[in-house]
Subunit: 691 residues, 2 copies
Amino acid sequence: MTTPRTDTGEIPVSAVSPQEVERLLLGAWAETRRTARGVLKDPQFHKVEGMSTADHRERTLKQLHALVEQGAVHRAFPKEFGGQDAHGANIAAFEELVTADPSLQIKAGVQWGLFGAAVMHLGSREHQARWLPGIMSLEVPGAYAMTEIGHGSDVASIGTTAIYDPETEEFVLHTPFEAATKRFLGNAALHAKAAVVFAQLITRGVNHGVHCFYVDVRDDEGRALPGITIEDDGHKGGLNGVDNGRFRFNQVRVPRTHLLNRYGDVAADGTYTSSIESPGRRFFTMLGTLVQGRVSLTGSAVAASKLALIGAITYGNQRRQFHTASPTEEQVLMDYQVHQRRLIPRLAKTFAAAFAHEKLLAKLDDVFSGRDDSDENRQELETLAAAIKPVATWHALDTLQEAREACGGAGFIAENRFTSLRADLDVYVTFEGDNNVLLQLVAKRLLADYAAEFKNADVGALASYVANQASDRVMHRFGLRRALQEFRDTGDERRSANWFKQPEVQRQLLAGRVRQMVVDVASELRSTAKLPMQKQAEVFNEHQYEIVNAAKAHADLLMWESFTDALERVEHEPTKQVLTWLRDIYALTTIEETLDWYLGNGRISSQRARTLSPYINRLLARVRPHAQDLVDGFGYEPDHVRMEVASGAEQARQEEALEYYRTLRASSEAPVDEKTLLDKKRAAERAARAR
Amino acid sequence: MTTPRTDTGEIPVSAVSPQEVERLLLGAWAETRRTARGVLKDPQFHKVEGMSTADHRERTLKQLHALVEQGAVHRAFPKEFGGQDAHGANIAAFEELVTADPSLQIKAGVQWGLFGAAVMHLGSREHQARWLPGIMSLEVPGAYAMTEIGHGSDVASIGTTAIYDPETEEFVLHTPFEAATKRFLGNAALHAKAAVVFAQLITRGVNHGVHCFYVDVRDDEGRALPGITIEDDGHKGGLNGVDNGRFRFNQVRVPRTHLLNRYGDVAADGTYTSSIESPGRRFFTMLGTLVQGRVSLTGSAVAASKLALIGAITYGNQRRQFHTASPTEEQVLMDYQVHQRRLIPRLAKTFAAAFAHEKLLAKLDDVFSGRDDSDENRQELETLAAAIKPVATWHALDTLQEAREACGGAGFIAENRFTSLRADLDVYVTFEGDNNVLLQLVAKRLLADYAAEFKNADVGALASYVANQASDRVMHRFGLRRALQEFRDTGDERRSANWFKQPEVQRQLLAGRVRQMVVDVASELRSTAKLPMQKQAEVFNEHQYEIVNAAKAHADLLMWESFTDALERVEHEPTKQVLTWLRDIYALTTIEETLDWYLGNGRISSQRARTLSPYINRLLARVRPHAQDLVDGFGYEPDHVRMEVASGAEQARQEEALEYYRTLRASSEAPVDEKTLLDKKRAAERAARAR
């Protein structure tokens, strides 16, 4: 299909095909997403705002049962137990739950994505047969007892102990001090009958590190079993449909066979065995299933960002404020440059995050289906998830907030859901891996990759690399290279825009930044290799901020690459053009955010830099007429959106008001403005004086 | 008092005097603040988390009655009615309410700061005598009916009409279309018996613009009076103790004498008179009392930021995570550079905002006390409030969020209040003047000042100015000036730090940016002066983003100046030293945020720019040991803070855990780590092979 257009942005306003956008975004699991969305149109799944915590918790439990009835939550489980062995599809469907109620999503995630997944991935065939049916049917609601008051991100250091007693062939689970209390556990406060509990496995005087145990926690009447103290975490900033709570164990005995023993086992006599020799690698293998949580939160964050933008952009296209350019008609919010600046770059980043997430999900499916479950691919999946999850979840909070502000007071009313979604998603940035900690994992991987590359380089290559580095430094130090650029580059706006819009330029800028930041940090750290541990830690800490920033830059690049790859899949040309502008907006606003780095490192001349912001503003104005089609392309229906601001009511109100004034002006009853009279009077006085 | 110190930051850890910091921050209304804080230690005023909306609303109403009993809310009213004519003190006390419950604050603000203040400032002596006693005693709860569904920031365009009927000597209040429904009105949904209603005053066929009317809205049984439809705005993102609602008027008749007629009156025969000839000036004069709301929200936002930092910094000094530098002791969070980066710049900005607010409050007191109520001073107050309110309220949301994230999962639990305060304060950024709209007011004032300055300049000065401008431009265009700087400035870190820490350099950088941004925008706009309105509006819109950014830069400068002035008032030398570093951190992180501008405009060389971030990191490490004393200096007691993370419980838990491990290591029962055994085994194997 071809629609007339030119390169200067003159394509018809209705050029974007929302259907094409939808097709593109639904991605590989389109049918699953459509099915899941269909299920979630049912009002029984929708969050009721302003409900009491107690009622919300009960409602969420009921919703979970309803999901079981609909067969909506078993895709990841083995076929023999009624699942589909479909890991990517499972997560694609799971992500959609956020549109109904994030509490529903997280409680479902605890039950099937954490509790159930631990039994499935860490347990034996026998464990699965014994426990999965009850977990899948929700006959046995369960908790995932990993986090402690004193240890969240540093799971390896948790304090709970599981000491093996060969006399009775039992493990003795114990909370040795208050900080080792399990905390923030979904399902724990009220509903869990059992839990998977992570504890230091100690047998024959040796601590084999963190392992996972299946533990019954409540009797049939819902009372805590002997030795287990359960407390309620109480009201939270959001997700109050989830009953988070705490467990303390006082010498609680569980049968030896309750150790989920896929990666490490204890024989009746207390002998420990494992298929993985290194305790470190064993630990990370056992924790590997956690990546599913990170991937699914990424997708959920993208879905919430989409809802926010549907609300704010629809409203921005209908609400009018200030007689900016006409005395009779107020201006639509989306026509204001600042409004475009607030919403369209976030729209662009939402697309980027959506495409990056789709890649992540495909990789997860490769790994978990066993289709490509190499160590390398698994590590790549984990690094990718650790990079994208922080950026996508922070982006969701930022977008929900900006959208809420862009709707003014209306954005604050619960019926418009921005504040509710934001409150619920808040914790997504610190759970399933604190964002700042995840970024440090990414950075460590980047540094390790760089070190490996360096080690493998032959001496000649190395020497020339070092020489290049050195001359680079001299060039930078004396600003020579940039000064030369500037004499040549007089800041011609058109030439500058032509440069910025080239994908190769964007790639070089984004990738060059990651590369240089890693090189800079690595060279600082290399000199410390022979220092004592404490000193090394100090130097590392002195560069921690840079390290985190390098990881963020890496995530930016990954998102840009995903967006750029996705453009190849767009068949409808005008849609492709608009999405290309949107990709450019993503790239250029990302570069703009750290423009000081590009300037300070001589990557962009100050002449060019000064043209960047105006060029972005022009791109925003170019995309602006298509903003509605783009959010319509998210494919959510009114039953998913459920926001007054997106209902069209504002448009009706504006038309009614406009009609009222139009009729009034045409009638004889229209009052005259005092100001008009005053202006006339003053003009008459001036005329009199002039005579 | 002198404490030994050097310029390199080696001052004792306990060098900061929290008492001195407290004295400094309590400012001019220290006694009032202390009294208000004393009252608010009473648990009856404290927000109960997780309460239902209905219960919260009733509780808040009761709290208002309790405030009346305590004599805590009448300071601004005239002495003859039992007030104190004390405007600055009134707001200082009002701000403290946020620590108890922001709903309490806002409901009190509606009753006395808006409803009561409208009667006081817009009404006659007779109006005051008639209505103020009931308002002050809360016998008559009231609403402030200004905002409509269709008009928030653009009050001049509201749709509600008040048409004078000389036959009956009444005004007929009417809502002519749905968008003119009054909305988001505190007290409206349940408790208001009366309201001040803003409407277009029309008499004898002339619209005299927006005026304010005192209107009874409910009878003694709480039913809406005839012609008035009242609806509930329902659940909100926060502030659910305030019963927001809507009014619609259907030909509601109010006596002529209910027009609050201080600035405009209608005689029995319908003749309109006003002491202010210009309808525009009259409108802005009537709206002038709104500035009180902006000033008080600024102070409240600062108070909430303080609470957030007390929580996160106290916890950051106690919570430990990861064995970064020692195998037996985990590292305290505040020792991580990223944690310092997250919290200390926000601490610095909180001080800057506090000092700027103190200035604002002093100016408000000057104006409202009549001590210095010139037109110029009033405009200056309004511009100052319009600049600081956006920055301070956004800062509060940002700080509450970062503090919540810095406490991980604990930050999300309601008992730690971060999420609750954030939810309640969210709307502070859009009410009492939408932040983005306020910034545009500031920018317009900056542009007007610049234009006036230009007009007054004599020809010679102007010519030389233009010449300077031109050579400046050439210098910038060819990067000459910077290139020269760079040859001279080889990026020596010490010299660079010495430069950055000079107050004069900071001032020049911050002030120079505002100046240049205004000049740049003004020169773009000047060329449009003769174009038609629509075209002018277009060009203005094309620079709207720059304009808003110029206003933000202006606010940054004001905050820096306030901080710098406040340093003069510090008597305790070591405290002064630490606060000076903190001021430097505020200045330099602010510059760092827009470093691209300084680079692109040749204000900072790229050599220097590269030393900025490391220098900030060193300053953060220098302030870090004093962070606890600084937040202790906020002067809030446990009854104000009420956060588990700030209670010291974490410290006790850490000590208990440390003691447990210490005892265990000393005993014979300590398990050996599998990793230790493995390392030994491998070493033995290597030794065997070597033999």
